[in-house]
Symmetry: C2
Subunit: 231 residues, 2 copies
């Protein structure tokens, strides 16, 4: 059964947004067809298409259920958007497939992209979520200032990915119920001032690999590493 996302999922009649309605039609679905609908926050329901307009599809929802997250840890990746936008989009797709709870796009000193299209990024996350049939989509936000990303005070395990970190990601505390944040810098890296500030705020420098990884690769590497170490 095909999966669609909606911002608000309730029993009764719901309307898919324009993008999701278009996708419904691309799949050549019709009235009376059964579909799955999720809010991307763990809630999902089976529904029946009752009106299939080109830009407005209405679904009759019976019972909304909740699917708990498969994993118990929380992962936030605070990442600088890449110069070439497709690299960031690729990171989003892969992070959704592999698993991440929150992505914060961060404007650092050396970030070469000062504007992002968050709506487009959300579409990419939805599309990847459909592919992996997930009811849990990451929360996307940004662009925020570097300083704001450091104020994730509820997060216990804080790391900043550096090419010369002392601690290897393999060596971080493995706690399945903890929450983690990783800062990933832009192509030009973090400035010394940013590194100092992050350390002051409790972020520990961490090494991902003996090799130099691109920004988007570092993000995917972190998602996979935590899935292997804690999943």
């Amino acid at each position: 059964m095909n999966l669609f996302y909606t911002d608000k999922l309730t029993a009764g009649l719901i309307t898919l947004d324009e993008e999701e309605s278009r996708h419904f039609n691309v799949l050549r679905l019709k009235e009376q067809d059964k579909v799955l609908v999720s809010d991307g926050k763990g809630n999902y329901a089976e529904g029946t298409a009752v009106k299939a307009g080109k830009k407005k599809v209405e679904i009759q929802i019976e019972e909304v259920r909740h699917s708990p997250k498969r994993k118990t840890y929380e992962l936030t990746i605070a990442i600088a958007p890449t110069k070439h936008n497709e690299r960031t989009e690729w990171f989003i797709e892969k992070a959704v497939e592999i698993g991440v709870d929150k992505i914060i796009f961060v404007n650092t000193k050396n970030t070469e992209r000062n504007k992002i299209n968050l709506d487009r990024y959300k579409k990419i996350a939805r599309s990847a979520g459909k592919q992996s049939l997930t009811y849990h989509l990451p929360e996307l936000s940004g662009l925020v200032k570097f300083e704001s990303a450091l104020n994730e005070t509820a997060t216990k395990e804080k790391y900043i990915a550096l090419c010369n970190g002392d601690l290897h990601i393999r060596q971080i505390p493995v706690n399945k119920n903890s929450n983690y944040i990783f800062l990933v810098g832009p192509e030009g890296g973090f400035t010394q001032g940013e590194i100092d500030l992050a350390q002051k705020k409790g972020f520990k420098p961490i090494l991902l690999s003996g090799k130099r990884l691109r920004t988007e690769t570092a993000g995917i590497f972190i998602s996979t590493a935590l899935e292997i170490m804690l999943g």
Copy 2:
């Protein structure tokens, strides 16, 4: 210093191939500039450009050195090329960055791509290798028949990635001196016949993640997992 690759690296005068010579010029390098040259097999040398033609750059090499591999295990990924070629190209780039020793492109029953451009794939590997400044490029081969990929008899640890594998990749034997091969199927998956045949040849079914991963994501996931578990 910029890194260039050559098939044969010896002391004395060497000529960069057309592609590498073009890249030399794109970087606006000139005669007398110092560069690094590697054969992608661990050998490297410092050299001086002595003739900088548009399609033919000559480098004077003094001493060829050998850089041992950072990791002691060997990883082969035998993967079906994806329907959309750019997904395979992304996989190659990321696998080079993260680390893989051999990539074999495999023609399976459900593979939707029966031809690959191995030269282009090698170019992508070189380009990713330059980015991560590596003297070790993976060996790329294919397209081979599925049955041929099963005859990697020198490989000790053999796995076939399946959505319903019993064994999780986290649970495989961790031996830093062993060599590993993972089979990764196309979008449509392996056929039951292929799975049976692989098992007969000693490949164990393995689960990568609780979520469904795309072909290229599975490949990147495996490279990262081994780097975390064995690196």
